[in-house]
Symmetry: C2
Protein backbone atom coordinates (compact mmCIF):
# COMPACT_ATOMS: atom_id res chain seq x y z
CA UNK A 1 0.00 0.00 0.00
CA UNK A 2 1.40 3.39 -0.99
CA UNK A 3 0.85 6.19 1.45
CA UNK A 4 -2.44 8.00 0.89
CA UNK A 5 -1.77 11.34 -0.81
CA UNK A 6 -3.78 14.20 0.61
CA UNK A 7 -5.41 16.39 -1.99
CA UNK A 8 -5.08 20.09 -1.32
CA UNK A 9 -7.59 22.68 -2.46
CA UNK A 10 -4.82 24.22 -4.55
CA UNK A 11 -4.41 20.91 -6.37
CA UNK A 12 -8.13 20.88 -7.08
CA UNK A 13 -7.94 24.45 -8.38
CA UNK A 14 -5.08 23.57 -10.70
CA UNK A 15 -6.93 20.55 -12.01
CA UNK A 16 -10.03 22.64 -12.72
CA UNK A 17 -7.96 25.45 -14.26
CA UNK A 18 -6.34 22.95 -16.57
CA UNK A 19 -9.59 21.42 -17.66
CA UNK A 20 -10.95 24.86 -18.45
CA UNK A 21 -7.75 25.93 -20.13
CA UNK A 22 -7.66 22.79 -22.27
CA UNK A 23 -11.33 23.27 -23.08
CA UNK A 24 -12.35 19.96 -21.53
CA UNK A 25 -14.94 22.21 -19.93
CA UNK A 26 -15.86 24.98 -22.34
CA UNK A 27 -17.17 28.44 -21.55
CA UNK A 28 -20.85 28.13 -20.70
CA UNK A 29 -20.63 24.45 -19.76
CA UNK A 30 -21.83 23.17 -16.44
CA UNK A 31 -19.11 21.34 -14.54
CA UNK A 32 -19.73 18.35 -12.29
CA UNK A 33 -21.27 18.88 -8.88
CA UNK A 34 -19.07 19.40 -5.86
CA UNK A 35 -19.94 15.98 -4.51
CA UNK A 36 -19.05 14.23 -7.77
CA UNK A 37 -15.79 16.12 -8.14
CA UNK A 38 -14.90 15.36 -4.54
CA UNK A 39 -15.41 11.67 -5.14
CA UNK A 40 -13.52 11.71 -8.45
CA UNK A 41 -10.53 13.56 -7.01
CA UNK A 42 -10.63 11.73 -3.71
CA UNK A 43 -11.15 14.55 -1.27
CA UNK A 44 -13.88 16.06 0.87
CA UNK A 45 -16.59 18.25 -0.58
CA UNK A 46 -15.39 21.12 1.60
CA UNK A 47 -12.05 21.00 -0.20
CA UNK A 48 -13.70 21.17 -3.60
CA UNK A 49 -15.88 23.99 -2.32
CA UNK A 50 -12.84 25.95 -1.19
CA UNK A 51 -11.21 25.50 -4.60
CA UNK A 52 -14.26 26.41 -6.67
CA UNK A 53 -15.11 29.37 -4.48
CA UNK A 54 -11.69 30.81 -5.22
CA UNK A 55 -12.12 30.34 -8.95
CA UNK A 56 -15.54 31.97 -8.77
CA UNK A 57 -14.05 34.95 -6.95
CA UNK A 58 -11.45 35.18 -9.69
CA UNK A 59 -14.29 35.30 -12.21
CA UNK A 60 -13.47 32.02 -13.92
CA UNK A 61 -16.57 30.22 -12.71
CA UNK A 62 -20.13 31.25 -12.01
CA UNK A 63 -21.96 29.48 -9.23
CA UNK A 64 -25.60 29.52 -8.31
CA UNK A 65 -27.40 27.54 -5.69
CA UNK A 66 -29.43 24.70 -6.96
CA UNK A 67 -28.41 25.51 -10.56
CA UNK A 68 -24.79 24.44 -10.31
CA UNK A 69 -21.43 25.71 -11.46
CA UNK A 70 -20.57 26.76 -14.98
CA UNK A 71 -17.52 28.11 -16.75
CA UNK A 72 -17.91 31.86 -17.22
CA UNK A 73 -18.90 32.62 -20.79
CA UNK A 74 -17.16 35.96 -21.23
CA UNK A 75 -14.75 36.12 -18.36
CA UNK A 76 -14.49 39.78 -17.53
CA UNK A 77 -10.82 40.08 -16.87
CA UNK A 78 -10.07 42.02 -13.78
CA UNK A 79 -6.79 43.65 -13.07
CA UNK A 80 -5.89 44.87 -9.66
CA UNK A 81 -3.41 47.60 -8.97
CA UNK A 82 -1.89 48.93 -5.83
CA UNK A 83 -2.29 52.54 -4.82
CA UNK A 84 0.79 53.27 -2.79
CA UNK A 85 1.76 56.33 -0.87
CA UNK A 86 3.54 58.71 -3.19
CA UNK A 87 6.52 58.63 -0.87
CA UNK A 88 6.61 54.84 -1.02
CA UNK A 89 6.25 54.83 -4.79
CA UNK A 90 9.19 57.19 -5.25
CA UNK A 91 11.42 55.55 -2.67
CA UNK A 92 10.73 52.07 -4.04
CA UNK A 93 12.36 53.26 -7.26
CA UNK A 94 15.45 54.19 -5.29
CA UNK A 95 14.83 57.90 -5.73
CA UNK A 96 14.96 60.68 -3.18
CA UNK A 97 11.54 61.83 -2.02
CA UNK A 98 10.55 65.42 -1.29
CA UNK A 99 7.40 67.48 -1.35
CA UNK A 100 6.55 71.14 -1.08
CA UNK A 101 3.21 72.72 -0.32
CA UNK A 102 2.51 75.43 -2.90
CA UNK A 103 -0.84 76.64 -1.61
CA UNK A 104 -2.96 76.07 1.47
CA UNK A 105 -6.13 78.05 2.01
CA UNK A 106 -9.80 77.90 2.86
CA UNK A 107 -11.81 78.27 -0.27
CA UNK A 108 -15.28 77.68 -1.67
CA UNK A 109 -15.16 74.52 -3.81
CA UNK A 110 -16.42 74.76 -7.39
CA UNK A 111 -19.76 73.08 -8.07
CA UNK A 112 -18.34 69.82 -9.46
CA UNK A 113 -16.22 69.35 -6.34
CA UNK A 114 -19.17 70.25 -4.11
CA UNK A 115 -21.16 67.53 -5.81
CA UNK A 116 -18.40 64.95 -5.58
CA UNK A 117 -17.79 65.74 -1.92
CA UNK A 118 -21.47 66.01 -1.01
CA UNK A 119 -20.91 69.19 0.96
CA UNK A 120 -23.19 72.23 1.24
CA UNK A 121 -22.70 74.93 -1.38
CA UNK A 122 -21.84 77.82 0.95
CA UNK A 123 -19.20 76.20 3.16
CA UNK A 124 -15.51 76.71 2.51
CA UNK A 125 -13.18 73.73 2.56
CA UNK A 126 -9.44 73.34 2.83
CA UNK A 127 -7.67 73.45 -0.53
CA UNK A 128 -4.05 72.32 -0.71
CA UNK A 129 -1.74 72.16 -3.69
CA UNK A 130 1.42 70.12 -3.32
CA UNK A 131 4.26 69.25 -5.64
CA UNK A 132 5.97 65.92 -5.08
CA UNK A 133 9.56 65.54 -6.22
CA UNK A 134 11.71 62.52 -7.08
CA UNK A 135 15.44 63.26 -7.02
CA UNK A 136 14.50 66.91 -7.14
CA UNK A 137 12.49 66.58 -10.35
CA UNK A 138 8.72 67.15 -10.38
CA UNK A 139 6.95 63.81 -10.05
CA UNK A 140 3.29 64.62 -9.53
CA UNK A 141 1.28 67.73 -8.82
CA UNK A 142 -1.57 67.30 -6.36
CA UNK A 143 -4.65 69.52 -5.93
CA UNK A 144 -6.64 68.39 -2.94
CA UNK A 145 -9.86 69.39 -1.21
CA UNK A 146 -10.27 68.24 2.38
CA UNK A 147 -13.64 68.10 4.13
CA UNK A 148 -13.12 70.33 7.18
CA UNK A 149 -16.34 69.18 8.80
CA UNK A 150 -15.24 65.57 8.69
CA UNK A 151 -11.60 66.22 9.61
CA UNK A 152 -11.44 69.28 11.91
CA UNK A 153 -7.97 68.27 13.14
CA UNK A 154 -6.54 69.26 9.77
CA UNK A 155 -6.98 72.93 10.69
CA UNK A 156 -3.66 73.01 12.55
CA UNK A 157 -1.62 70.98 10.09
CA UNK A 158 0.83 72.65 7.72
CA UNK A 159 1.92 69.44 5.93
CA UNK A 160 5.59 70.32 6.24
CA UNK A 161 6.78 66.99 7.60
CA UNK A 162 3.94 64.85 6.34
CA UNK A 163 2.43 65.57 2.95
CA UNK A 164 -1.37 65.74 2.72
CA UNK A 165 -1.24 62.29 1.15
CA UNK A 166 0.77 60.84 4.00
CA UNK A 167 -0.96 62.76 6.77
CA UNK A 168 -4.42 61.62 5.76
CA UNK A 169 -3.39 58.00 5.39
CA UNK A 170 -1.87 58.09 8.86
CA UNK A 171 -4.57 60.03 10.65
CA UNK A 172 -7.81 59.10 8.98
CA UNK A 173 -9.31 55.70 8.37
CA UNK A 174 -11.15 55.27 5.11
CA UNK A 175 -13.21 52.51 3.67
CA UNK A 176 -14.01 53.40 0.08
CA UNK A 177 -13.19 55.55 -2.87
CA UNK A 178 -13.77 56.39 -6.52
CA UNK A 179 -10.98 56.46 -9.04
CA UNK A 180 -10.91 58.00 -12.47
CA UNK A 181 -7.93 57.71 -14.77
CA UNK A 182 -7.59 59.95 -17.77
CA UNK A 183 -5.20 61.99 -19.85
CA UNK A 184 -5.10 65.75 -20.19
CA UNK A 185 -3.23 68.21 -22.33
CA UNK A 186 -0.91 70.25 -20.13
CA UNK A 187 -2.00 73.86 -19.65
CA UNK A 188 0.77 76.43 -19.24
CA UNK A 189 0.20 76.43 -15.46
CA UNK A 190 0.51 72.68 -15.23
CA UNK A 191 3.51 72.73 -17.52
CA UNK A 192 5.20 75.27 -15.28
CA UNK A 193 4.56 73.19 -12.16
CA UNK A 194 5.88 69.99 -13.73
CA UNK A 195 8.69 71.66 -15.69
CA UNK A 196 7.43 70.41 -19.01
CA UNK A 197 6.16 71.99 -22.21
CA UNK A 198 2.58 73.20 -22.41
CA UNK A 199 0.56 70.86 -24.62
CA UNK A 200 2.16 67.63 -23.45
CA UNK A 201 -0.10 64.70 -22.66
CA UNK A 202 -0.20 64.04 -18.92
CA UNK A 203 -1.57 61.13 -16.95
CA UNK A 204 -4.21 62.11 -14.40
CA UNK A 205 -5.78 60.34 -11.45
CA UNK A 206 -8.87 61.76 -9.75
CA UNK A 207 -9.72 60.16 -6.46
CA UNK A 208 -12.50 60.67 -3.94
CA UNK A 209 -12.09 59.00 -0.56
CA UNK A 210 -14.89 58.12 1.85
CA UNK A 211 -15.23 57.02 5.42
CA UNK A 212 -18.40 56.14 7.27
CA UNK A 213 -20.56 57.60 4.54
CA UNK A 214 -18.74 60.93 4.46
CA UNK A 215 -16.40 62.13 1.76
CA UNK A 216 -13.05 62.80 3.37
CA UNK A 217 -11.10 64.26 0.51
CA UNK A 218 -11.17 64.71 -3.22
CA UNK A 219 -7.88 64.93 -5.05
CA UNK A 220 -6.46 65.31 -8.54
CA UNK A 221 -2.98 64.02 -9.27
CA UNK A 222 -1.31 65.22 -12.47
CA UNK A 223 1.78 63.15 -13.18
CA UNK A 224 4.97 64.12 -14.95
CA UNK A 225 5.24 63.35 -18.68
CA UNK A 226 6.14 59.73 -19.35
CA UNK A 227 4.65 58.44 -16.12
CA UNK A 228 3.35 54.90 -16.36
CA UNK A 229 1.07 52.91 -14.14
CA UNK A 230 1.71 49.22 -14.24
CA UNK A 231 -0.14 46.10 -13.24
CA UNK A 232 -0.43 42.44 -14.13
CA UNK A 233 -2.73 39.50 -13.71
Amino acid sequence: MSKQERISWQAVQNEVRQRISQRDWKPGDFIPHEADLAQELGCARATVNRALRGLAEAGLLERRRRAGTRVTLNPVRRAEFAIPLIRAEIESKGQRYAHSVCLREMRLPPPDVQARMQVPANVTQLFVQTLYLANGAPYVFESRWINMTAIPAVRDEDFATFSPNEWLVREVAFDGGDFTFSAITASSDEAAMLSCRAGEGLFVLDRTTRHAGQVITSVRLVFHPGYQMHTRI
Copy 2:
Protein backbone atom coordinates in the same frame (compact mmCIF):
# COMPACT_ATOMS: atom_id res chain seq x y z
CA MET B 1 -33.29 29.48 27.39
CA SER B 2 -33.30 31.72 24.31
CA LYS B 3 -32.41 30.07 21.05
CA GLN B 4 -28.68 30.07 20.41
CA GLU B 5 -27.81 32.66 17.76
CA ARG B 6 -25.41 31.36 15.16
CA ILE B 7 -22.49 33.62 14.40
CA SER B 8 -21.67 33.91 10.70
CA TRP B 9 -18.22 34.60 9.36
CA GLN B 10 -19.58 37.84 7.88
CA ALA B 11 -20.62 38.92 11.37
CA VAL B 12 -17.11 38.21 12.60
CA GLN B 13 -15.69 40.23 9.70
CA ASN B 14 -17.94 43.16 10.48
CA GLU B 15 -16.99 43.06 14.13
CA VAL B 16 -13.29 43.05 13.27
CA ARG B 17 -13.75 45.78 10.65
CA GLN B 18 -15.47 47.94 13.24
CA ARG B 19 -12.81 47.44 15.85
CA ILE B 20 -10.16 48.41 13.31
CA SER B 21 -12.20 51.32 12.02
CA GLN B 22 -12.82 52.61 15.54
CA ARG B 23 -9.15 52.13 16.34
CA ASP B 24 -9.83 49.66 19.11
CA TRP B 25 -7.14 47.77 17.24
CA LYS B 26 -4.68 50.23 15.75
CA PRO B 27 -2.49 49.78 12.70
CA GLY B 28 0.46 47.63 13.68
CA ASP B 29 -1.30 46.07 16.68
CA PHE B 30 -1.57 42.35 17.09
CA ILE B 31 -5.14 41.20 17.43
CA PRO B 32 -6.23 38.27 19.60
CA HIS B 33 -5.56 34.75 18.42
CA GLU B 34 -8.15 32.89 16.42
CA ALA B 35 -8.94 30.61 19.32
CA ASP B 36 -9.49 33.52 21.72
CA LEU B 37 -11.65 35.41 19.25
CA ALA B 38 -13.67 32.29 18.58
CA GLN B 39 -14.37 31.87 22.26
CA GLU B 40 -15.16 35.55 22.79
CA LEU B 41 -17.56 35.70 19.86
CA GLY B 42 -19.01 32.28 20.51
CA CYS B 43 -18.19 30.47 17.29
CA ALA B 44 -15.77 27.89 15.96
CA ARG B 45 -12.19 28.74 15.13
CA ALA B 46 -12.87 27.79 11.52
CA THR B 47 -15.40 30.59 11.32
CA VAL B 48 -12.95 33.14 12.65
CA ASN B 49 -10.34 31.79 10.25
CA ARG B 50 -12.69 32.28 7.33
CA ALA B 51 -13.39 35.85 8.38
CA LEU B 52 -9.79 36.84 9.02
CA ARG B 53 -8.56 35.18 5.86
CA GLY B 54 -10.90 37.39 3.87
CA LEU B 55 -9.69 40.53 5.61
CA ALA B 56 -6.10 39.50 4.99
CA GLU B 57 -6.84 39.00 1.29
CA ALA B 58 -8.35 42.47 1.26
CA GLY B 59 -5.10 43.80 2.71
CA LEU B 60 -6.57 44.92 6.03
CA LEU B 61 -4.76 42.33 8.11
CA GLU B 62 -1.38 40.66 7.90
CA ARG B 63 -1.10 37.11 9.11
CA ARG B 64 1.94 34.98 9.77
CA ARG B 65 2.15 31.54 11.22
CA ARG B 66 3.30 31.40 14.77
CA ALA B 67 3.61 35.20 14.88
CA GLY B 68 -0.08 36.00 14.80
CA THR B 69 -2.34 38.51 13.10
CA ARG B 70 -1.78 42.25 13.03
CA VAL B 71 -3.58 45.22 11.56
CA THR B 72 -1.78 46.31 8.41
CA LEU B 73 0.36 49.37 9.12
CA ASN B 74 0.15 51.08 5.75
CA PRO B 75 -2.71 49.36 4.03
CA VAL B 76 -1.83 49.43 0.36
CA ARG B 77 -5.15 50.23 -1.15
CA ARG B 78 -5.92 48.07 -4.10
CA ALA B 79 -8.40 48.98 -6.74
CA GLU B 80 -9.72 46.46 -9.16
CA PHE B 81 -11.04 47.30 -12.57
CA ALA B 82 -12.78 45.26 -15.20
CA ILE B 83 -11.34 44.92 -18.66
CA PRO B 84 -14.34 44.51 -20.91
CA LEU B 85 -14.50 43.78 -24.57
CA ILE B 86 -14.43 47.04 -26.48
CA ARG B 87 -17.76 46.08 -28.03
CA ALA B 88 -19.28 45.51 -24.60
CA GLU B 89 -17.85 48.77 -23.26
CA ILE B 90 -19.37 50.77 -26.10
CA GLU B 91 -22.71 49.00 -26.12
CA SER B 92 -23.06 49.27 -22.33
CA LYS B 93 -23.09 53.04 -22.83
CA GLY B 94 -25.99 52.64 -25.23
CA GLN B 95 -23.89 53.54 -28.22
CA ARG B 96 -23.66 51.85 -31.60
CA TYR B 97 -20.56 49.72 -32.02
CA ALA B 98 -18.49 49.37 -35.17
CA HIS B 99 -14.93 48.64 -36.08
CA SER B 100 -12.84 48.79 -39.21
CA VAL B 101 -9.52 47.14 -39.91
CA CYS B 102 -7.10 49.73 -41.31
CA LEU B 103 -4.09 47.52 -41.82
CA ARG B 104 -3.33 43.83 -41.70
CA GLU B 105 0.05 42.50 -42.74
CA MET B 106 2.95 40.29 -41.79
CA ARG B 107 5.77 42.41 -40.52
CA LEU B 108 8.98 42.21 -38.53
CA PRO B 109 8.28 43.55 -35.04
CA PRO B 110 10.49 46.36 -33.71
CA PRO B 111 12.97 45.33 -31.01
CA ASP B 112 10.85 46.48 -28.05
CA VAL B 113 7.91 44.39 -29.26
CA GLN B 114 10.20 41.43 -29.93
CA ALA B 115 11.37 41.65 -26.36
CA ARG B 116 7.88 42.00 -24.91
CA MET B 117 6.62 39.10 -26.98
CA GLN B 118 9.66 36.91 -26.44
CA VAL B 119 9.85 35.97 -30.10
CA PRO B 120 12.96 35.46 -32.26
CA ALA B 121 14.34 38.54 -33.99
CA ASN B 122 14.04 37.36 -37.58
CA VAL B 123 10.45 36.05 -37.63
CA THR B 124 7.61 38.16 -38.95
CA GLN B 125 4.39 38.42 -36.97
CA LEU B 126 0.89 39.55 -37.80
CA PHE B 127 0.34 43.27 -37.33
CA VAL B 128 -3.22 44.61 -37.31
CA GLN B 129 -4.44 48.15 -36.86
CA THR B 130 -8.10 48.63 -36.09
CA LEU B 131 -10.26 51.64 -35.38
CA TYR B 132 -13.21 51.13 -33.04
CA LEU B 133 -16.17 53.48 -33.39
CA ALA B 134 -18.97 54.47 -31.03
CA ASN B 135 -21.96 56.02 -32.79
CA GLY B 136 -19.67 56.50 -35.77
CA ALA B 137 -17.11 58.54 -33.84
CA PRO B 138 -13.59 57.22 -33.24
CA TYR B 139 -13.45 55.58 -29.84
CA VAL B 140 -10.10 53.85 -29.66
CA PHE B 141 -7.32 53.05 -32.10
CA GLU B 142 -5.71 49.66 -31.68
CA SER B 143 -2.28 48.52 -32.90
CA ARG B 144 -1.83 44.83 -32.29
CA TRP B 145 0.88 42.24 -32.80
CA ILE B 146 -0.23 38.62 -32.83
CA ASN B 147 2.14 35.71 -32.29
CA MET B 148 1.68 33.60 -35.44
CA THR B 149 3.60 30.69 -34.00
CA ALA B 150 1.25 30.47 -31.02
CA ILE B 151 -1.95 31.17 -32.98
CA PRO B 152 -1.55 29.78 -36.50
CA ALA B 153 -5.33 29.80 -37.02
CA VAL B 154 -5.24 33.59 -37.24
CA ARG B 155 -3.69 33.34 -40.71
CA ASP B 156 -7.11 32.96 -42.36
CA GLU B 157 -8.97 35.53 -40.31
CA ASP B 158 -9.79 38.94 -41.78
CA PHE B 159 -11.45 40.34 -38.61
CA ALA B 160 -14.42 41.67 -40.59
CA THR B 161 -17.17 40.22 -38.39
CA PHE B 162 -15.14 39.85 -35.21
CA SER B 163 -12.56 42.47 -34.32
CA PRO B 164 -9.12 41.24 -33.29
CA ASN B 165 -10.12 42.00 -29.71
CA GLU B 166 -13.27 39.92 -29.92
CA TRP B 167 -11.80 37.14 -32.06
CA LEU B 168 -8.93 36.50 -29.68
CA VAL B 169 -11.14 36.50 -26.60
CA ARG B 170 -13.43 33.98 -28.26
CA GLU B 171 -10.82 31.71 -29.78
CA VAL B 172 -7.88 31.78 -27.46
CA ALA B 173 -7.68 31.07 -23.76
CA PHE B 174 -5.31 33.22 -21.77
CA ASP B 175 -4.14 33.16 -18.23
CA GLY B 176 -2.07 36.27 -17.65
CA GLY B 177 -1.09 39.67 -18.86
CA ASP B 178 0.76 42.91 -18.25
CA PHE B 179 -0.94 46.27 -18.31
CA THR B 180 0.61 49.69 -18.60
CA PHE B 181 -1.45 52.85 -18.46
CA SER B 182 0.01 56.13 -19.60
CA ALA B 183 -0.67 59.33 -21.45
CA ILE B 184 0.80 60.41 -24.76
CA THR B 185 0.75 63.55 -26.81
CA ALA B 186 -1.12 62.89 -30.05
CA SER B 187 1.09 62.73 -33.12
CA SER B 188 -0.42 63.97 -36.39
CA ASP B 189 -1.04 60.35 -37.45
CA GLU B 190 -2.85 59.51 -34.25
CA ALA B 191 -4.78 62.76 -34.43
CA ALA B 192 -5.93 61.89 -37.92
CA MET B 193 -7.09 58.43 -36.88
CA LEU B 194 -9.02 59.71 -33.87
CA SER B 195 -10.26 62.91 -35.55
CA CYS B 196 -8.68 65.16 -32.98
CA ARG B 197 -6.01 67.85 -32.99
CA ALA B 198 -2.35 66.88 -32.98
CA GLY B 199 -0.87 67.61 -29.55
CA GLU B 200 -3.87 66.55 -27.50
CA GLY B 201 -3.27 64.37 -24.48
CA LEU B 202 -4.52 60.82 -25.06
CA PHE B 203 -5.04 57.95 -22.67
CA VAL B 204 -3.09 54.83 -23.62
CA LEU B 205 -3.27 51.22 -22.52
CA ASP B 206 -0.51 48.79 -23.47
CA ARG B 207 -1.33 45.18 -22.85
CA THR B 208 0.55 41.93 -23.31
CA THR B 209 -1.40 38.72 -23.03
CA ARG B 210 0.02 35.30 -22.19
CA HIS B 211 -1.14 31.73 -22.27
CA ALA B 212 0.78 28.66 -21.17
CA GLY B 213 4.02 30.59 -20.94
CA GLN B 214 3.74 32.03 -24.45
CA VAL B 215 2.93 35.60 -25.34
CA ILE B 216 -0.22 35.56 -27.45
CA THR B 217 -0.54 39.18 -28.39
CA SER B 218 0.78 42.62 -27.55
CA VAL B 219 -1.49 45.55 -28.12
CA ARG B 220 -1.57 49.33 -27.75
CA LEU B 221 -4.92 51.06 -27.36
CA VAL B 222 -4.98 54.82 -27.90
CA PHE B 223 -8.29 56.25 -26.69
CA HIS B 224 -10.18 59.27 -27.93
CA PRO B 225 -9.62 62.58 -26.10
CA GLY B 226 -11.62 62.81 -22.91
CA TYR B 227 -11.76 59.06 -22.34
CA GLN B 228 -11.94 58.09 -18.69
CA MET B 229 -11.37 54.82 -16.95
CA HIS B 230 -13.34 54.36 -13.77
CA THR B 231 -13.19 52.15 -10.75
CA ARG B 232 -14.12 52.13 -7.11
CA ILE B 233 -13.34 50.27 -3.93
